[in-house]
Point group: C2
Chain length 194, copies 2
Amino acid sequence: MSELEKPAYHHGDLRAALLDAALALLAEGQEPSLRAVARRAGVSPMAPYRHYADREALLAAVAVRGIEGLKSTLEAADADAAPGQAVVAQAVAYVRYACDHPVLFRLMFGPSRPSAEHGICSAAQEVKDVLLGRLAHEAPQRFTPDYALGCWALIHGLAQLVVEGLLAETDPDPLGNGLIERAVQAMLTRTAEA
Amino acid sequence: MSELEKPAYHHGDLRAALLDAALALLAEGQEPSLRAVARRAGVSPMAPYRHYADREALLAAVAVRGIEGLKSTLEAADADAAPGQAVVAQAVAYVRYACDHPVLFRLMFGPSRPSAEHGICSAAQEVKDVLLGRLAHEAPQRFTPDYALGCWALIHGLAQLVVEGLLAETDPDPLGNGLIERAVQAMLTRTAEA
DNA sequence: TGTACATCAGTGAACGCGCGTTCACTGATGTAC
DNA sequence: TGTACATCAGTGAACGCGCGTTCACTGATGTAC
């Protein structure tokens, strides 16, 4: 029918379509400006303002979606992991997610990330909880808030270093050659220092 | 004399002055665009092109200077640290440096960081070497490349999380209340897992 | 010591760009009677 | 069931902005003879 040919004046679910458009742009490595997102969604530059207060609000929604995606990825890795290997498996999944979606990853955790009122802070904390959830359950005696933060920082730092290419010169393929696993293993299996 | 009043047509050391101008802008939290840097240095928008090929080259020079600054800070912290506390002391110094210069820190390690040919990759690796230098010397048996990368990632990740405000909701002052020390300590003093 | 001239280091106007956002609008939808 | 009208969801032209970079230039410096 002509329903399919002529784009409806009323889009139906432009709100979601805008999010998808932004994610598509990010997947191509482009910064999702308001205009670019609207263009991608096949809509005039002003249309997004019906659904988002401004540029920041739209990007915040995208960032939250990215964090949801990371959480799902971590949960899947956690479910598939052998006993005692949950943290290492999730670390690899974390870094891979960052590498697969570098621009999105920066938006989620980087400087252009919109401010706290959009709930990104707590969404990020949930990432930490997912990361450490199984460990807290399996080995509660060694699980402390400080340790949890340390693990998150370790994994997040690895992801940052890899995604920004800071290891590229010495190590071109840290996911492929097992460097990530080994670095995490090395940090988790140290004996007491003092 | 009038030497001091009228700005010389030939600046003298515009190259260095441009770097200082960029750092001053960064210290104020502004992005140093080419035009803004020139403006700040009291010079026409085109003047920087005498000294830097383009925007990227100038920012790369700024980033390298930032990395030098971080290295000096780490070395000072290392020198002042009690035996066995070098890594923790340097972690605190690392995070503090990031908090003191958030925009510069992002430029050094973030998405806008110019690509590898400007030598930032290797400069970053030197940061790792400074971080782990004393440990390699004091306890060579536990020092491995994997462990070194893990330590760097841990500290770098903490700095990222703090500077981007991702801990702000649960922990408003992680440097003041010792959270950083405790998280690093917790990671370094674990007993073997398997 | 004086002069001609090449080179160096800056100026300043202008370009085209994409951006976020404003404004007044119009076509489509839904609801009350 | 039909109609009037409010509301909703989009359009499209225009704004002012700062940006990186181009171009042709000019004033200052240094060097060879």
